[in-house]
C-alpha cells in the first residue's frame, strides 16, 4: 500500500514538473515583440482599427488558445483550427466543403486566413462586415460549431483556466462576448503573409526562373484585374462563370444583397499561399491549379452575368498555364506557414 502511495506521489511530482516544463516551452511563448504589427512594405493602411483593440501579449495568447480550443463547440470536438489548418494557410487542405460538428458537411470551401486586417468584409458572400464579428458565424452555425454565444461564455467562465487568462488580458475575470471576440481578433490580426519568394523577388533578394518570370508577366496582363497586388485581391465580388451547382444552390453575394446582378458573385480570394489552399473555388470544385487554369482557358462560362474581364484568360496555352502556376507557387510564404506564433499551443 505504502509503495503504491509512493509511486502515486512521484507520479504527481513528475506531472507537475512536466506541466511546468510545458508551460515554459519557449516555442510557444509570446514576447512583446511578437505582437507588434509591422505593416509590410507596399501594403496599404489596414482597415481593421487596432486602436480599438490594442494587441497585447496576454490578449494574443488568449486568442490563440481559444482558436485551438474545441471547448467553443457544442460537441467539444470542433475548434476553429479543425477547419483552419496552419500548414494550409488556415484553409482546410483537400476538403472541398467545410466539416462541422457531429460529422456534418457545410456548404462552402474553407477560406485561408491571412491578411485579414485588409479585408472590408468576410465570407465568400461578404455578409460579415467586421473581423470582430466573423467568429460568431461558425460558432453559432448549427452545422459548424453549433453553440450559442451565452453558453460559450458560461463554459469559459466555469473553466479552471480561462477566467485567469481573461484577467491577464483585460484586467478582470469577467468573460464577455466583447472580450472573447477581441482576443480572437488580436490573434487573427497578426496573421500577415508578406514574405513569399515573390515579395523577396520584388525587393531584389530573390531571383525568378525564366518560367516564373513569364508567369508573372502573364499574371499581370491576364489576372491582375481582380487579383490585385500586393494582397492579390481587389476585395470585389465577381462571377467567374462557374456552372451552378444544383445541389448546393449557392447564389453567392445575391443572398446578401438581394440583387439579381449579384447572382453567383463571390469575393475575389487572395492568391497568397494558393499552392497550399487546395481545393479551389467557393465550393472546392477544382482539385488543383491545373483545373482552375483549364476553367479560364477553355472559356466555357455559364450564367449570363459573368465578369467580362475573365475573357482575357481565354485561350491560355498549356505552356502559359504551367507558367502561371509556376508563378503562383512563388506566393507560398513559408515564414507565415511556419510562424511559431500561430502554432497550436496544446501540441507538445
Amino acid at each position: 500500500m505504502a509503495r503504491h502511495l509512493i509511486v502515486f506521489f512521484f507520479l504527481i511530482i513528475f506531472t507537475v514538473l512536466f506541466a511546468g516544463f510545458i508551460q515554459d516551452n519557449p516555442y510557444f511563448e509570446i514576447h512583446p515583440e511578437d505582437v507588434e504589427l509591422k505593416i509590410p512594405k507596399g501594403f496599404p493602411e489596414p482597415l481593421y482599427d487596432l486602436k480599438n483593440n490594442k494587441i497585447t501579449v496576454a490578449g494574443f495568447t488568449l486568442g490563440r488558445k481559444l482558436f485551438y480550443d474545441p471547448i467553443l463547440s457544442k460537441d467539444y470536438f470542433t475548434s476553429c483550427a479543425s477547419c483552419h489548418q496552419r500548414f494550409a494557410a488556415f484553409a482546410h487542405i483537400d476538403h472541398a466543403l467545410s466539416h462541422g460538428m457531429l460529422g456534418q458537411i457545410g456548404k462552402r470551401n474553407v477560406p485561408a486566413l491571412q491578411n485579414l486586417i485588409w479585408k472590408d468584409a468576410f465570407m465568400a458572400d461578404g455578409g460579415i462586415n467586421h473581423l470582430d464579428l466573423q467568429p460568431l458565424a461558425p460558432l453559432t452555425s448549427p452545422i459548424e460549431m453549433g453553440e450559442s454565444l451565452d453558453t460559450v461564455l458560461m463554459k469559459l467562465q466555469k473553466d479552471s483556466i480561462y477566467p485567469g487568462l481573461f484577467k491577464k488580458a483585460f484586467g478582470t475575470t469577467d468573460i464577455t462576448s466583447e472580450r472573447l471576440l477581441k482576443s480572437l481578433s488580436q490573434f487573427l490580426a497578426l496573421m500577415v503573409s508578406s514574405n513569399s519568394r515573390f515579395d523577396k523577388y520584388l525587393e531584389g533578394k530573390e531571383t525568378f526562373s525564366d518560367q516564373e518570370t513569364r508567369g508573372l508577366n502573364l499574371f499581370r496582363t491576364k489576372c491582375e484585374n481582380c487579383h490585385k497586388e500586393p494582397l492579390f485581391t481587389d476585395n470585389s465580388y465577381r462571377n467567374i462563370g462557374l456552372k451552378p451547382d444544383s445541389a448546393l444552390k449557392d447564389s453567392g453575394r445575391a443572398a446578401i444583397t438581394g440583387k439579381a446582378e449579384d447572382y453567383m458573385r463571390f469575393k475575389v480570394p487572395s492568391l497568397r499561399n494558393v499552392e497550399r489552399t487546395y481545393p479551389y473555388m467557393h465550393d472546392g470544385r477544382f482539385r488543383n491549379l491545373n483545373e482552375v487554369m483549364k476553367h479560364y482557358a477553355e472559356g466555357k462560362f455559364y450564367t449570363d452575368n459573368f465578369d467580362q474581364s475573365i475573357q482575357r484568360a481565354v485561350g491560355l496555352t498549356e505552356q502559359e498555364q504551367s507558367d502561371l502556376i509556376a508563378f503562383l507557387k512563388t506566393l507560398t510564404d513559408n515564414t507565415f506557414l511556419m510562424d511559431r506564433r500561430f502554432a497550436d499551443p496544446s501540441m507538445r
Binding site: I128, N129, H130, L133, L136, A137, L139, S141, S177, K259
Partner: protein, 251 residues
C-alpha cells in the same frame, strides 16, 4: 465671447477650468440625477395589455394569435422644446417585455423646459451596425444580432397562431437591416401636449401596440406570412411598426 477665447487659448487655464468642471460635476451629480427623465413603455395589443403566452389577440383579418416574445431597440432620443431648446441622447436601449426593468428608460440630465415633441429611432444606427463587437444593449449575446449577414435585429415579435402554417403554428417576425435591400431604421416623432407638461419633465409614458405590426400600411395575413427573418418583407414590417407608438401620459 472673449472669455471663451481666453480659455481656449491658454492651455493651463484650460486645465484649471477642466478641473473645476470635473469638481463641479462631482458635486452636482445628485442634483443632475433628479433631472433624469423617465420614459415608461407599456405594451398593448389593441385595448388589451400585452400578456406573454397567456393573452390571446386578434389581428385585422380576424386571425387569433399569442405573443411569446416582444423585444426591440430604441435609440437616439431627442426632445424639442417650444422655445427651441433641444436635448439629444445617443444611447441605445433594448426593451424586452419579459424583463420589466427594461421597460423603464432613464435619460439623464434633461434640462427643464416646455417640450413640444419627442422623437427616437426604432432600430440601431448604421454606424453601430458596422462598428464590430459592442457591449451592453448591443452585445450579440442579447440575441438581437444576425451572425451571417451582419446587422442588428431591431424588433422581434414571436408567438403562435392557428392561422400560421409554420411548424407548431409558430410565427416569427425578426425585423432589421440598416442597408439595401432592407433599411428598417425608422424615426418616430410624437407630439407632446404642452398644456400637460409640468416643469421639469419627469416622466413620459409611451404605449406600444403590437396590433399595429399587423395593420398598416400592409395587413399581415398569418396564413401567408408567418416568418420574417431576413430582408424579405422586412421593410413592409418596418413601415408597419413605425406607427406602433403613442404618448399615453406626461408627468
Amino acid at each position: 465671447m472673449k472669455s471663451v477665447f481666453l480659455i481656449r487659448s491658454c492651455k493651463r487655464t484650460r486645465q484649471y477650468f477642466s478641473a473645476l468642471v470635473l469638481l463641479f460635476c462631482c458635486f452636482s451629480a445628485p442634483i443632475k440625477a433628479q433631472s433624469a427623465l423617465e420614459i415608461v413603455l407599456q405594451h398593448f395589443a389593441g385595448n388589451q395589455a400585452l400578456r406573454l403566452d397567456s393573452g390571446s389577440y386578434t389581428n385585422e383579418l380576424g386571425q387569433h394569435f399569442t405573443v411569446t416574445k416582444f423585444k426591440y431597440y430604441l435609440s437616439n432620443f431627442h426632445l424639442k422644446s417650444v422655445d427651441g431648446k433641444e436635448y439629444n441622447s445617443k444611447e441605445v436601449f433594448l426593451i424586452n417585455e419579459e424583463e420589466a426593468s427594461t421597460k423603464k428608460i432613464f435619460l439623464p440630465d434633461v434640462p427643464a423646459g416646455n417640450y413640444s415633441s419627442l422623437s427616437f429611432t426604432l432600430g440601431v444606427d448604421s454606424i453601430l451596425n458596422c462598428s464590430g463587437i459592442q457591449s451592453g444593449a448591443l452585445d450579440p449575446v442579447n440575441g438581437m444580432f444576425w451572425t451571417w449577414n451582419t446587422g442588428y435585429i431591431f424588433l422581434k415579435l414571436e408567438g403562435k397562431s392557428p392561422a400560421s402554417k409554420s411548424p407548431a403554428n409558430m410565427y416569427e417576425f425578426h425585423v432589421g437591416g440598416y442597408k439595401s435591400p432592407a433599411n428598417c431604421i425608422r424615426r418616430i416623432t410624437l407630439p407632446l401636449d404642452q398644456k400637460s407638461v409640468k416643469e421639469p419633465l419627469r416622466q413620459i409614458v409611451l404605449r406600444a401596440d403590437v396590433l399595429e405590426l399587423f395593420k398598416s400600411p400592409e395587413k399581415v395575413d398569418l396564413s401567408v406570412l408567418s416568418s420574417v427573418t431576413d430582408f424579405h418583407n422586412a421593410e413592409m414590417m418596418a413601415d408597419n411598426y413605425s406607427d406602433m407608438f403613442s404618448v399615453l401620459e406626461i408627468h
